[in-house]
């Protein structure tokens, strides 16, 4: 009767396999921490205050306002005291905040690169305390940002700016100031306002124009206090990180695919119908391969703004599959006499997983999907949207908690079953007892590895958060990029985990004679032949562990 590799593999080979997988894992962390730069870079800019003296902006047909270059707009330095303001009696609707990225550095006009993958814009307002023109603290004021985003290629001129998106977006401005700090000119602490998210960096230069039109009738942009400057912060993925990430995916994709093929080949060659664990494992491998598939290379040639959404969905699908796999895996090792081996037996558990994933998917589609059409969209900006978003997230987190409790309960049940059945081991022969306790040990070992993976994910997540919080100036010592290490490490870890499962849970070709031969020589003999392709004749299903349990039950 055939078992799985985990049960028949010799201790030595098992440890070699585990150590090499651990080494691969360590390599992932090191590549992330030492080779790759931080995952993201920030271009913190202060917007130039352009003057729209001819009031062209509301017509919508105007040329973009450029912050520098030959066609630089006429600008003012101070939004309140500049001479032009008093001379021309400029109103707030005539100010257009403008900034273009990237900035000029070291006398070179840098350009954006398609390696940057995505671009996020955030607005930071500097509101000054002014007793005459106060910020409305009782009710957070509503803002309308009238924003336009343009793009241009390197070979084009300033006349060729293409409008990528234009929108009037609502945001709520939340600011606070300490009581003992309330003097003229002191600054409020304001929350950042999300501005836009682009799923691709297709152009070489980007230009943002923002207008804050005052509408007294609708009370927009009215009680926001005295604005001293508007900062636009751009965040994009670093090219170096993208290169490392793409290379990892490109390497992992064929490796997992090969492992998957080998696994399925093994299963097919058993000449029996497949069992549920095998099928689940196979789908897990397929979904992992889909996630690994390096289609991102296409972004270097084409404008594919949906890539971020696609990646999020692929990640989500993988985690959903992994969670389902754990439920099924643990359920199939329940060691009770109930016959499962079919998906319908797990509908309760899987519903919870699917519910969580579905609500996250809907949330994702609402936010990122909508951003494909309008990059300035933010689900959090409208009241209905933020309530809906909160609902989805709360449903997802409740489902996650329920799932976790379910899983803990199942694992607890398996271990209880194992320990109650362990007593019957005493009645067996020495060799068989050794063998079966080895099986139990390995099952437990795999559970522990699973837990370890989950724990490591959480630990590295926290580490990344903490290290980002303790912002340093960067010393000359080797700087370890915790965040990159976290991302590559977690990615590598789940890849390695699935590969280990595929390798260890593939049906073994080795035939363990359950019979009367108590000779320990058999084991060493088995180890020698385990990799030779012996055609299986046995029609029995499942692992040795299951048959052992059936046997003990029969005793």
């Amino acid at each position: 009767m055939a078992g799985v590799v985990l049960e028949t593999l010799g201790n030595k080979k098992l440890s070699i396999l585990i150590i090499s997988l651990l080494l691969v894992l360590a390599a992932f962390f090191l590549v992330g921490g030492l080779v790759s730069p931080a995952p993201n870079n920030v271009i913190a800019t202060t917007a130039i205050n352009c003057v729209d003296s001819e009031k062209l902006w509301p017509l919508g047909t105007s040329q973009p306002f450029l912050p520098r270059g030959k066609k630089k707009c006429s600008s003012i330095g101070d939004l309140h005291k500049d001479k032009v303001i008093i001379d021309e009696e400029l109103g707030p609707n005539q100010i257009v905040f403008s900034q273009m990225i990237p900035l000029v550095r070291d006398n070179t006009q840098l350009s954006m690169s398609r390696w940057f993958q995505n671009l996020i814009g955030v607005v930071d307002l500097d509101i000054e305390f002014s007793s005459k023109n106060p910020y409305s603290e009782e009710k957070s004021p509503k803002m309308v940002l009238d924003a336009r985003l343009y793009g241009r290629f390197k070979h084009e001129t300033d006349d060729d700016w293409k409008l990528i998106a234009a929108a009037q977006e609502q945001r709520t401005l939340e600011c606070a100031i300490e009581n003992d700090n309330r003097e003229e000119g002191a600054s409020y602490n304001c929350d950042l306002l999300p501005l836009f998210e682009l799923g691709s960096v297709y152009y070489d230069f980007y230009l943002i124009n923002i207008c804050l039109p005052v509408r007294e009738r609708n009370i927009y942009n009215v009680n926001i206090g005295r604005l001293s400057e508007l900062k636009v912060i751009f965040i994009h993925q670093n090219g170096g990180f993208t290169k490392v990430w793409f290379s990892m995916k490109t390497v992992m994709f064929p490796m997992v695919l090969a492992a998957l093929c080998w696994f399925w080949n093994r299963v097919i060659s058993q000449e029996r119908s497949t069992n549920l664990t095998e099928r689940t494992l196979f789908s897990l491998g397929i979904i992992l391969s889909v996630m690994n598939c390096p289609v991102e290379w296409l972004t270097l040639a084409f404008n594919l703004p949906f890539m971020v959404l696609l990646n999020d969905i692929r990640d989500g699908a993988f985690y959903a599959m992994l969670l389902s796999f754990w439920i099924i895996f643990v359920g199939e090792h329940m060691l009770d006499q109930i016959e499962r081996n079919k998906l319908s037996a797990y509908w309760k558990h899987l519903t919870v997983v699917l519910l969580a994933c579905l609500s996250l998917l809907i949330f994702e589609m609402c936010e990122r999907g909508r951003q494909l059409v309008n990059p300035f969209f933010s689900i959090w900006s409208s009241e209905v949207g933020s309530v809906a978003a909160f609902t989805f997230i709360i449903v997802a987190s409740i489902a996650a908690c329920v799932y976790f409790l379910f899983l803990c309960y199942l694992v607890f049940k398996v271990f209880r079953n194992i320990s109650t059945k362990r007593s019957s081991l005493l009645h067996m022969s020495t060799f068989r007892r050794k063998y079966y306790s080895g099986l139990i040990f390995r099952f437990k070992f795999l559970m522990i590895v699973t837990l370890l993976c989950a724990a490591l994910t959480v630990i590295f997540f926290i580490l990344g958060q903490v290290s980002e919080g303790e912002w340093k100036w960067g010393d000359e010592d080797i700087n370890i990029e915790y965040t990159s290490a976290f991302l590559t490490g977690v990615y590598g870890m789940w890849n390695v985990y699935v590969m280990a499962l595929l390798a260890l849970y593939a049906p073994s070709h080795k035939h363990f004679t359950t019979g009367d031969d108590d000779n320990s020589d058999t084991l060493s003999q088995e180890e020698e032949v385990q990799l030779t392709q012996v055609p299986s004749t046995s029609a029995s299903e499942g692992s040795n562990l299951a048959s052992f349990m059936a046997k003990t039950a029969a005793d």
Binding site: N40, G91, L103, V122, S130, A186
Partner: protein, 425 residues
């Protein structure tokens, strides 16, 4: 090279590349080092117009000894006058109208650097090299003067400016706390203004990255992005502000050396007040907006915060004197804490700011407004130094019933009211 040594000897091994292709070709003043493209400014001061510099007599041919003697005497005389009278300071840039129009610089009008008042020889060279930085320096100096006046508006010394090249008047030539504060706040102003201009994209030479990986700037930028601008502001301000203190060597135990050390320390204190207190802002942008990915960046502190911090440092400034060898400054009273790089130091007690004094340069508080029954320094008792005050009624014409928006022109009516005004006798 000593003039820009602070710029080059950075411990972190980062070098700020030269402004390439900039029209600053004043051949006698600048030389470019093509190999390592670092800032390389000759110590040739032939076009220096500042009366401190004594090197213009060097390199003269030996014509007649009498002529040389006359020259030397004349020079010494100028030097004397220079130290007793007002100090020429670059803070002038904050008062100058020349800098209002940045276009002047873009047109490559380098001779303007020699027209700017208050620049030392080394700073003139900086001006020629980084001429697009000058409006920012002017803005920084202006901000510093404004903040100083705002911080000290209720004090006997109110940071008032005078119409000469020293900006704050001869009172600053006394090595007092006030001098310490003015140096610190103006250095801070430069850091702040340069950093801000970098963020606006105004300057051509803000450096890019601290990443050492690929050599080429474009690749470096694509690989790991750009470093922070506050760091650039700090380094530029260090080079620009401190260059005037490093132009001359002074003998040990000399008051000039002491003053130089004090100025350098206080300049550093001001710069650190910006550099060390940059705030961090973060944004979460992971899957579905989760915080799995968080990106943080530095935010410039507002200049008010910097002013408040330096005002605290002013209150806690440490009095110093020479060490025994006359090379370094050490604290005068041992039981106080050692001044850190962020602290301010001073050497002389502040002059009496109550009465006008031509020798010290104090303007006195006569005619200053004060608050009747005020408890603090703004109160008439303290402000007028016990001399009493005059009270009279004043018709105040002010703007009222204004309609305010977040910016721009404010439409108002004018109102009149009568108020009591107290001024010191």
């Amino acid at each position: 090279m000593s003039g820009v040594s602070g710029w080059r000897k950075r411990p972190r091994g980062l070098q700020i590349p030269l402004v390439q292709g900039f029209q600053v070709a004043q051949g006698t003043v600048l030389s470019r080092n093509a190999e390592d493209s670092n800032i390389n400014i000759n110590k040739d001061s032939s076009r220096c117009n500042c009366n401190h510099d004594n090197s213009s007599s060097s390199g003269r041919t030996n014509r007649t000894s009498t002529l040389l003697c006359v020259l030397l005497i004349a020079l010494l005389f100028i030097l004397q006058v220079g130290t007793v009278g007002a100090i020429d300071m670059w803070w002038q840039l904050g008062m100058s109208d020349l800098l209002k129009n940045p276009q002047v610089y873009i047109l490559g009008a380098t001779p303007i650097c020699t027209q700017l008042k208050g620049l030392s020889a080394g700073q003139v060279r900086f001006c020629q090299k980084f001429n697009d930085h000058m409006p920012s320096i002017g803005r920084g100096a202006k901000m510093a003067i404004g903040e100083c006046q705002s911080q000290f508006r209720f004090m006997r010394w109110n940071c008032s400016t005078v119409a000469d090249s020293s900006v704050f008047g001869p009172v600053i030539s006394i090595a007092s706390r006030e001098a310490a504060f003015t140096h610190a706040i103006s250095a801070a102003g430069v850091v702040h203004a340069i950093s801000r201009s970098c963020r606006e994209g105004d300057l051509h030479s803000c450096h890019c990255s601290r990443a050492q990986r690929p050599r080429n700037l474009d690749e470096e930028w694509i690989w790991g992005g750009c470093g922070d601008n506050i760091e650039y502001g700090y380094r530029f301000a260090k080079a620009f502000v401190d260059v005037r203190e490093q132009e001359k060597t002074h003998p040990r135990h000399s008051p000039e050396l002491a003053r130089m050390l004090m100025n350098k320390h206080n300049n550093e204190g001001g710069r650190k007040a910006v550099y060390n207190y940059a705030k961090v802002a973060c944004k979460c942008h992971g899957v579905s907006g989760s915080c799995a990915l968080k990106t943080c960046w530095q935010q410039l502190p507002t200049f008010r915060e910097i002013g408040d911090r330096l005002r605290d440092r002013y209150n806690g400034a440490t009095e110093v004197r020479f060490n025994r060898r006359g090379t370094r400054l050490v604290r005068k009273v041992r039981k106080f804490n050692k001044p850190t790089r962020e602290d301010l130091i001073y050497m002389e007690a502040s002059p009496d700011y109550c009465v006008a004094n031509a020798t010290t340069g104090s303007l006195g508080t006569k005619g200053r407004f004060c608050v009747r029954n005020g408890k603090g320094m703004e109160g008439c008792d303290l402000m007028c130094c016990g001399r009493g005050y005059n009270t009279y009624k004043q018709k105040l014409v002010e703007r009222c019933h204004c309609k305010f928006f977040w910016c721009c022109y404010v439409k108002c009516k004018t109102c009149e009211r009568i108020i009591d005004v107290h001024t010191c006798k």
